[in-house]
Symmetry: C2
Subunit: 310 residues, 2 copies
DNA sequence: TCAAAAGTGTTATCCTTACACCCATGT
DNA sequence: ACATGGGTGTAAGGATAACACTTTTGA
């Protein structure tokens, strides 16, 4: 038995980081333990704020300079520590963006394509096959398995909102994961309810996949009204590269012409004068992000053209 | 010297709540200690999640049923506990919405109009006088007091973005408060830098006013894309009441006709059949929120007509 | 010469904004 | 009668979505 009195049980603070980089036009996230864990550890030391503590900790453990950082969420679920243990773990998670556009081929260990964990979230090549072949059929079975008609109707509506093709909303990454969890279709749920009929897609330890889903959802929402994509880009880039970057994050193809116009007319970028010597086709002008925009306009967005065509 | 080892110093968790209600068309927030504190206390007991812990705690201490709840932010600044004390306080703050539309006159103690703390945020009656008379002049002095031209230019731009009339953005409540803090124009800043030239607007203990600003900013942003206003409304209401509610939260007047059309065409409300016997003029139809909308559409917004006229 | 990617121009449509006006009630 | 708030219609402007087409390189 822990000696702590009722009102002051032992507490420890854990930091979790969703570190994102773009490598070879793929959205990658830094992991440990063969992709099973997000970087995480105790909050220690003497930092004035959490944010600085996280920065120092990430840079010390991963040797990555950290660009943009934002807090995601704080969990203190009892389930995270063993149920009856007197210890309460508070886990504070962060989203961090870093520049890591390495050359093709050079693959540092630890970076994982995030669609490995959420294959149904990648619509860049059209409707993902895993959705039609696996996710939807099993969700339909889950709907049918409901206790009564009312429950069935509710399940049907929730599936409709989150997974229906015509109205697919790429921001609902977390909601979709949580629904799949509830339906017992991800490995993490099986730990409680017994072995389940599990979907393709790598799992993680603890609730790290949920934290990852939170990070992806936040980032997808954010790129629509804040120019954060540029934190993931090299200093100079072509509009094509930029488009592929946004597509990689949003998980869907964008309309080329409208994308270009939108970016340019918003004054987000300026030409460097150079052109790129790239993989084929006409050489592209190089651009750089106009950092001044952050001081010029309050809501410097980087609106996406919401059309679906490629 | 605290006996704790370097890597495991004492930590305690504190919950803070920004509890919002609409009373007499004014946005009110629940406070303690004569308006100087937000409800807050240690996280204790045996709740499975933070959210349930907060709910129980709020309901036990304030006797208020809590509707919508959302996490705001987690701070662990060293400054919150005495600097050199071995104790680290992690404060997790929440936004909670509750129905408290009491009759005019009946004023429970503890509820404070939030514009008491941020008088420059209320544009319902046109540009707030405190802005032109006090805030802007002192910010201008702050700009001039910068060390060199570069710093001066940067300050000017930041003031421009956050406080300029023509582009006033009601969502920037937190940014504005933090800028005023930095400029030494709020009492809270004075605690460190010595007595300051303080603006009108009530202050709070610790960083509670900053937490309140975070809550207001979050709520103002949220009402634009989620139908959370209804959490603050009585079951039946007129469109006029609803408009005044949104105006109270957003802190600015809205265009009547467009507001009505927007609300109705989005299918957010339905007529109850009844009419109200109110303060004068033609009796108004009563409406109720269509809860089903939450299941029908993923992004059930309650878009505001972004025009300024009354 | 052809594939591949870059880059330009133009049109239809819808949503937002704004203005003008009528309706029903209490005093 | 008139003040007050409720309620409706419609036109102008701007942003988005969609389409068609030209340019410049490497193989």
């Amino acid at each position: 038995m822990p000696p702590a009195a009722n009102r002051s049980r032992a507490v420890s603070i854990e930091l979790n980081a969703v570190l994102v980089a773009l490598i070879d036009d793929a959205p990658q996230v830094l992991t440990l333990e063969d992709g099973m864990l997000l970087p995480s550890g105790p909050f220690e030391g003497d930092h004035p704020t959490l944010q600085t503590g996280l920065r120092a900790w990430v840079e010390r453990h991963t040797h990555h300079p950290l660009g943009y950082v934002e807090q995601l969420y704080t969990f203190a679920d009892r389930s995270r520590a063993g149920a009856a243990s007197g210890l309460r773990i508070v886990s504070i998670s962060y989203l961090g963006l870093t520049r890591e556009r390495a050359e093709a081929g050079r693959r540092e260990p630890g970076w994982q394509n995030w669609y490995r964990y959420f294959p149904w979230e990648d619509w860049r090549g059209g409707t993902p096959t895993v959705l039609a072949r696996q996710v939807l059929p099993r969700l339909r079975r889950w709907i049918e398995a409901a206790a009564d008609t009312a429950a069935r109707r509710e399940r049907r509506q929730r599936v409709e909102i989150n997974f229906a093709e015509p109205t697919w909303n790429e921001d609902l990454v977390l909601q979709r994961y949580e629904l799949l969890y509830e339906a017992g279709l991800v490995a993490e749920a099986g730990r409680r309810k017994g072995p389940a009929d599990v979907l393709p897609g790598a799992s993680m330890h603890y609730d790290h996949r949920r934290i990852l889903a939170t990070g992806i959802a936040r980032l997808r929402a954010k790129i629509k009204y804040r120019p954060v994509v540029f934190e993931l880009m090299p200093p100079d880039f072509t509009l094509g590269q930029l488009q592929r970057a946004v597509e990689a994050l949003a998980g869907r193809p964008l309309h080329k012409q409208n994308f270009r116009r939108l970016i340019e007319q918003q004054g987000l970028v300026e030409e460097t004068g150079g052109v790129s010597a790239e993989t084929g086709g006409r050489p592209a002008k190089l651009f750089r992000f106009r950092r001044e925009i952050l001081l010029e306009r309050a809501a410097a967005g980087s609106k996406l053209p919401l059309s679906r065509s490629a």
